[in-house]
């Protein structure tokens, strides 16, 4: 690569030339690109992500770098008048949570929703979304930190963090000391199926239940997988016996693509994000899904079908668990209110609303799946659909990738989507 050259001499002479001929647009774009690349530094590119930030893994936590020109707000400020712009995943935050925040703090909340984190990322980086606080996937964190898109948090506003949040998350692996984030919600990824349509299948009968998509006959056209690169390829790796779902080993990725190719040939698998609806309608019989999907599906299932037929499986050990975080925009107009919002989400009231609204677990004491079911907040039959404590503690997580790794993953996913 000739990146080094581009950054220095060529860049300078080009800029001089462009300014010389008064090509304003080009010059501005160039200065923009200069500022975009300045976060880069020499280092081991395989273990480092954007901006030279080490790649966090559950076993090896990472402190996200703090910058002098990007400081947290001062303590003891009064909340702004709002409205607070909340940018979150569509269908996750219950309406009750918005209204209770408005009542409590007198700050109007204006939510905007994204359909998937992949869709939100470029819009945020391009600056085309105005938000105060954002529901952020943890693999995106280093990108936002390195590009100084988000600001550190001031824990003096986050009183519920220390008192309510699980001990294991007081200093999370993806953001040691929680300098930029507060935890969002937890869910598990596995296999959802309709027991009435596939009466003979039982995951307990298989050594590797992930193999079901390749083993079961008569499911062609009735299969769906997530149209998300990390979920899709990650579970494919699990099926292939690769326990590190953040592997950037080309052989692992190639094997995952091969497995997908076989699956496409065998079942013409559909890629989508509406697993709960297609399962409820019976257009699909078996799918890669999130546990919460079978809870969602209950709202869409025809009256004559018993919701009990919606089944979900994920392994107790080494399940794919996903969680997200909340972060504050560096350009937030309401940073204090944003802190209060994050604090609000770590209170029991929201956690109860959340699990009942979207089937997601908020990581605060007393809201573990076991308790939620024991207290009757959720039906017993959703036991497998909510991430258990064991799954959360011993699960595998999507984590940030290096630039080369990210490119390899994107290429692999492109190959899947192109059926190559």
């Amino acid at each position: 690569m000739n990146r080094a050259r581009r950054g220095t001499t060529a860049g300078l002479s080009r800029r001089a030339l462009l300014q010389g001929i008064g090509f304003g647009a080009g010059a501005l774009a160039l200065s923009a690109c200069a500022s975009r690349t300045e976060g880069s530094s020499a280092g081991n590119s395989a273990t480092q992500g954007p901006g030279g930030i080490e790649l966090a893994r559950p076993g090896s936590p990472v402190s996200l770098p703090l910058y002098d020109d990007n400081q947290a707000i001062k303590s003891g400020l009064n909340p702004e008048s709002g409205p607070l712009n909340v940018y979150c995943w569509t269908g996750t935050i219950p309406k009750k949570t918005f209204t209770s925040f408005e009542e409590k703090y007198g700050v109007e909340v204006r939510p905007t929703f994204y359909g998937a984190p992949d869709e939100a990322l470029p819009k945020i980086l391009a600056g085309s979304i105005n938000f105060d606080v954002y529901e952020c996937s943890m693999e995106q964190l280093p990108i936002f930190v390195a590009n100084k898109v988000i600001q550190p948090v001031n824990h003096s506003y986050l009183t519920s963090y220390k008192s309510n949040v699980w001990d294991s998350l007081q200093s999370p692996w993806y953001d040691a000391d929680a300098s930029y984030t507060t935890p969002g919600s937890y869910w598990n990824t596995g296999i959802a199926w309709r027991e009435d349509l596939l009466p003979d299948w039982d995951p307990a009968s298989m050594d590797n239940p992930y193999d079901v998509f390749w083993e079961l006959d008569g499911i062609a056209g009735k299969v769906q997988w997530y149209d998300y690169v990390r979920d899709g390829l990650g579970m494919m790796m699990m099926r292939n016996g690769v326990s590190d779902i953040n592997s950037t080993d080309q052989a692992d990725l190639d094997a995952a693509v091969d497995a997908f190719r076989e699956l496409i040939d065998r079942t013409r698998v559909r890629l989508g994000t509406d697993a709960y609806q297609t399962l409820a309608q019976g257009t699909n019989w078996i799918e890669q899904a999130w546990g919460a999907d079978i809870y969602f599906a209950e709202f869409y299932i025809p009256k004559e079908v018993d919701p009990k037929v919606l089944k979900f499986w994920a392994p107790d050990e080494g399940a794919i668990v996903t969680s997200d975080t909340w972060v504050i925009s560096r350009k937030a107009k309401n940073p204090v209110a944003a802190h209060l919002w994050m604090n609000h989400l770590l209170e029991r009231e929201h956690a109860v609303n959340m699990v009942q609204y979207s089937g997601l677990i908020t990581p605060i004491e007393g809201m573990e799946t076991e308790n939620v079911i024991a207290e009757g907040l959720m039906s017993e039959r959703l036991n497998t659909a909510l991430p258990s404590r064991q799954q959360i503690e011993n699960g595998v997580y999507h984590a940030p990738l290096s630039k080369e790794g990210e490119t390899a993953w994107q290429n692999a996913w492109l190959a899947v989507k192109s059926n190559a």
């Binding site: 304003g24 647009a25 501005l28 774009a29 923009a32 940018y87 569509t90 905007t112 929703f113 994204y114 359909g115 470029p122 819009k123 391009a126 085309s128 979304i129 989508g272 509406d274 709960y276 609806q277 297609t278 309608q281 257009t283 869409y300 025809p302």
Partner: protein
């Protein structure tokens, strides 16, 4: 005349007529059926189970009572209103100017005006999206993704068609009337306003209606330049929910509104055109329709 007076050309066997009518049925029946399903008594969009208006209004999930639908309806109408005004004004001015351009500029100008018409919408959308996200100077910096970008995209897509329609009208009129008005003592600009704009009015109205219809129906550009769920238009909503999604017959009701609005706009356009040009005999039905379509 040796041929049958009613049928021109070569008589092909009867099956052709059957084929044509079969095509019409194939073409139209599904749409009619989909509209009918908006009146279904149950949640199903594929099995008819009795008549009801519950998906239109009166229940929380119905078209006029559910915020998701009303927001999409409102957003689509907003976009269409802005697009119609801007592209009609720009299109009219451009059409007037383009017919006057002589010399070297003529070919490149005509070429540029044709670009949006002969480019797949997806590529127009990608180009606009990339320039809005990568360029940080005016005017790109002030047009945010969402409503402003969607209007810019829709106008860019429609204005070429408006120019084509109005140019066609100018070509029919020629510049004689304007000159005649000047000869009678009107100043050049007064002549332009008095004569040309009055005579161009029918075409301008048609252009406006066509922009409206294009905007309401537009999917690719509108989707690509949207920012979040507050800038979802009706076609975008249909696309996201057609296969899984919010699959009640209210979706069919939403689609029905879309279809009826567009058809009304186009019908109005063609009626207005006929009324305004009633003293001239213009081209036949076919060319008229195609002028609308081209």
């Amino acid at each position: 005349m040796t041929t049958d007076s009613k049928r021109k050309g070569i008589r092909l066997p009867r099956p052709l007529a059957i084929f044509v009518w079969a095509y019409m049925v194939w073409n139209l029946l599904p749409v009619v059926a989909a509209m009918a399903f908006s009146f279904n008594a149950t949640r199903s969009r594929s099995q008819w189970q009795g008549f009801s208006t519950q998906w239109w209004s009166g229940t929380p999930l119905s078209l006029f009572d559910n915020e998701e639908y009303t927001a999409a309806l409102k957003h689509s109408l907003e976009l269409a209103a802005m697009t119609t005004v801007i592209s009609t004004v720009l299109g009219t001015l451009l059409a007037l100017v383009v017919t006057r351009i002589r010399g070297v500029a003529k070919r490149p100008v005509n070429f540029i005006l044709m670009i949006p018409i002969v480019t797949p919408e997806l590529i127009l959308a990608v180009g606009l999206y990339l320039s809005l996200t990568f360029i940080t100077v005016w005017p790109f910096s002030v047009v945010e993704l969402g409503t402003p970008a969607q209007v810019v995209g829709q106008v860019t897509y429609t204005v070429g068609f408006v120019v084509v329609i109005i140019r066609g009208r100018i070509a029919v009129l020629g510049d004689g009337l304007e000159a005649a008005a000047r000869d009678l003592g009107a100043g050049p600009i007064a002549a332009l306003v008095l004569v040309l704009f009055r005579l161009l009015m029918p075409a301008v109205l048609v252009g406006a209606m066509i922009s409206f219809a294009f905007s309401i129906d537009n999917f690719v550009i509108t989707q690509y330049l949207s920012s979040d769920s507050s800038t979802v238009s009706i076609p975008m909503y249909l696309y996201t929910n057609a296969r899984g999604g919010n699959t009640t017959p209210a979706l069919n009701a939403l689609a029905t509104v879309l279809v009826v609005t567009t058809l009304l706009a186009v019908a109005l356009a063609s009626l207005l055109y006929r009324w305004a040009t009633r003293r001239e005999s213009v081209a036949s039905d076919v060319t008229g329709t195609v002028a609308l379509s081209a």
